[in-house]
């Protein structure tokens, strides 16, 4: 039970590292999608009594994060005719190393943080922290809009993982609302990316600096 959850968490952490290391946008999108799917399955593994609502939420997560958003992003990428984040603000190797360091730090931090007894053994907190960190790193370090959206996705995934700690206590209505909001946010972002691509003919955020001081 807990073993399966840890396995999935470990997988998600590994995927964030992969995301940090990859330069190709399609694979970045794929990694983010895969991570979304992994997370979507987590509640199914965790919950002892599978309520219908949990299943619905999990399925919705998998569909949105695993299918809809990647498709949207890939479309934008194709029209922009790019598939590589050529010159990131933080290089791939340094970001990979930073990500690894973040991972170690996350594990240490999770040890240090006061946790409930049932979470002491779980990787969930460490995974959440390291994923959030990776997401922020992508947001800070990459220059293509699509990479940043992926970073945002991964950041959200990390937060979602932390939310799983509370899944038993949070009303599902709230949970569902949060999920809906996040999804719509990513969706809207995807639309804006699409519009930007049309308006600027580029998804390089370094060109998106008309508005400046």
């Amino acid at each position: 039970m807990s073993g399966a959850l840890d396995l999935l968490t470990g997988l998600a952490m590994g995927l964030s590292l992969v995301a940090l290391g990859t330069s190709r946008l399609p694979s970045l999108i794929r990694v983010a999608a895969l991570q979304g799917v992994v997370l979507g399955t987590m509640p199914l593994v965790m919950e002892h009594d599978l309520r219908a609502m949990v299943v619905v939420v999990a399925l919705a997560t998998v569909v949105m994060k695993g299918v809809v958003i990647p498709v949207l992003l890939r479309r934008a990428m194709r029209t922009a005719n790019i598939d590589r984040d050529m010159d990131p603000l933080i290089g791939f190797l340094p970001s990979l190393l930073l990500g690894a360091a973040g991972l170690i730090g996350a594990v240490l931090l999770a040890r240090w943080l006061p946790l409930l007894p049932e979470h002491h053994e779980s990787l969930l907190v460490a995974g959440s922290i390291s994923t959030v960190f990776s997401g922020l790193l992508l947001l800070i370090g990459r220059s293509k809009a699509i990479s940043q959206v992926c970073g945002y996705l991964i950041l959200e995934n990390g937060i979602y993982m932390f939310g799983l700690l509370l899944i038993s206590s949070t009303p599902l209505l709230v949970e569902g609302g949060i999920l809906l909001d996040l999804t719509v946010a990513v969706f809207v972002t995807g639309i804006i990316v699409d519009r930007i691509q049309r308006a600027f003919d580029s998804l390089d955020t370094r060109k998106l600096t008309v508005l400046r001081e």
Partner: protein, 480 residues
């Protein structure tokens, strides 16, 4: 039950507007819903409901202390919006009107939220509903602004979600049920796990602080305010920031109940002072008169957090300042919008001498400048003075002195830009454009109304408001 209408009326109106077939008449949904909302909000201000309507949502004293300000601002902006949208007939307004109304409903919901999760959902929804408002102009600049608004704001709000979870975990760890209603959290009080409470506070402050526009998380503000239409800027500066501010206040009350109020106040104070400083520095060399307003907003958010950090009288004055900020910012944005359209320029290199081209809007802009820089007899003068007094009487003298220096720098920057815009010799292009722009009553009365409101708030603050602010202060500080 009535309070639920505050959310439902705008949302229903939004739906109706989305379905309404005629672009020409659709904008009238705005003032209609705004009027209903304002009347309701004011009625509830005078006759506060007894018990909260729902454990998650309710018109509690804190809502009562600030929501009517947002509602009034919306009403005025909506009235302005009718004539604005008529001028912008070339743009389809279906999405705009619907989103604007939805934003009002969601802002009401966020104000009324008594549950951390609901609060987050409503705030995020406000953010999302304002996206179509931001890129209404459909220019590349507008998309860029929207993009930054989404990503910076999104990251911030994601952090506040993490913070919300942490607060929930603090409850769990402290032996609670993980109930995220503020009442339950505050009731748990010292039973909350202190490290988690502190972590939650950091994340929530930064998260909602991003939404509020505290430095250094303010970076999206000038872009968004600079590119959005005037009414949207006014609503963002006077409404959405208020949502984030009340969110921080609610969280602070929980943190206070958990026994970490001193730490929270210290961070709030530091964030406030830092925001004032950063805003003042930006204002000093501002050239774009709409982006300038964003920095002025950052400055006032700093003042709000400073006031809130002082507690008691300072918090009371901060509520006062919320109202004043809404009114004066609204007046600034609307009059700046007139000038922007009449001049066709953004910066003081392109715009000048508008007192010749648009004398009335320029006078309003100038008056709003004096109002927003705390010149008597406008409201901000009184609220800032009360904040200063509170600071001096709670041994925060040096912070108050720092605030005064920032106020001076901000005044220098603001007045320099406004004088450059209003006085001097208008460029030829502006004169031609200006001749086409008519200063009709519908574009002049709304900012004037806001200024009169700011004046009235200052000179004769209604007792019901005073009482509302006092009870809000009581709600936030009386937790055991």
């Amino acid at each position: 039950m009535k309070e639920s209408l505050l959310i439902l009326v705008p949302l229903v109106a939004a739906g109706a507007a989305a379905l309404w077939p005629h672009d020409r008449t659709r904008p009238w949904f705005l003032p209609a819903a705004g009027l209903a909302h304002s009347l309701l909000a004011l009625w509830l201000l005078v006759h506060p409901p007894g018990a909260p309507w729902h454990p998650w949502l309710g018109y509690d004293p804190l809502t009562r202390a600030v929501l009517p300000a947002v509602s009034l601002l919306f009403l005025v902006c909506a009235a302005y919006g009718v004539s604005y949208l008529r001028l912008r007939a070339e743009r389809p307004n279906r999405v705009f009107v619907a989103a604007f109304l939805a934003a009002l409903g969601l802002m009401s919901a966020a104000h009324m939220a008594r549950h951390l999760g609901v609060l987050w959902i409503a705030t995020e929804a406000v953010t999302l509903s304002s996206v179509p408002l931001l890129h209404f102009n459909n220019t590349p600049r507008a998309f860029e602004a929207t993009w930054k608004y989404l990503l910076v704001g999104g990251t911030g709000i994601a952090l506040s979600l993490l913070g919300s979870f942490c607060l929930g975990y603090a409850s769990l760890h402290g032996g609670g049920a993980g109930d995220l209603t503020f009442a339950a959290l505050a009731a748990q009080g010292a039973g909350l796990s202190r490290p988690w409470v502190l972590i939650a506070w950091v994340l929530l402050l930064v998260g909602y602080g991003t939404k509020m526009g505290l430095a250094p998380m303010h970076t999206w503000k000038p872009d968004a305010y600079g590119e959005a239409p005037g009414i949207v800027g006014a609503m963002l500066a006077g409404g959405v920031t208020t949502v984030a501010f009340t969110a921080i206040l609610r969280v602070r009350a929980v943190v206070d109940a958990a026994g970490a109020g001193v730490v929270a106040d210290r961070t709030l104070l530091a964030a406030g002072l830092f925001s004032m400083l950063v805003a003042a520095l930006f204002l000093l060399s501002a050239r774009d008169f709409k982006r300038m307003l964003a920095y002025s907003s950052v400055e006032h958010m700093g003042i709000l957090s400073f006031g809130a950090a002082l507690g008691g009288a300072g918090l009371w004055a901060a509520f006062f300042h919320v109202w004043n900020n809404s009114m004066t910012k609204g007046a600034l944005f609307l009059s700046a919008g007139n000038i922007r359209r009449a001049s066709g320029g953004r910066t003081i290199d392109e715009v000048g001498g508008m007192s010749v081209v648009t004398p009335r809007s320029s006078a309003l802009f100038m008056t709003a400048l004096f109002a927003v820089t705390a010149c008597p007899p406008f409201g901000p003068f009184f609220s800032e003075l009360l904040i200063l007094r509170a600071a001096f009487s709670t041994a925060h003298g040096w912070s108050a002195a720092f605030m005064l220096v920032c106020l001076l720098l901000a005044f220098l920057g603001l007045s320099r830009v406004v004088f450059a815009v209003v006085y001097g010799r208008p460029p030829r292009a502006a004169r031609d454009l200006g001749r086409r722009f008519k200063e009709t009553l519908p574009v002049l009365v709304p900012p004037l109304v806001l200024l009169v409101l700011a004046l009235w708030l200052g000179l004769a603050t209604p007792d019901v408001l005073r009482e509302a602010w006092s009870s809000a202060v009581g709600q936030l500080t009386s937790t055991p």
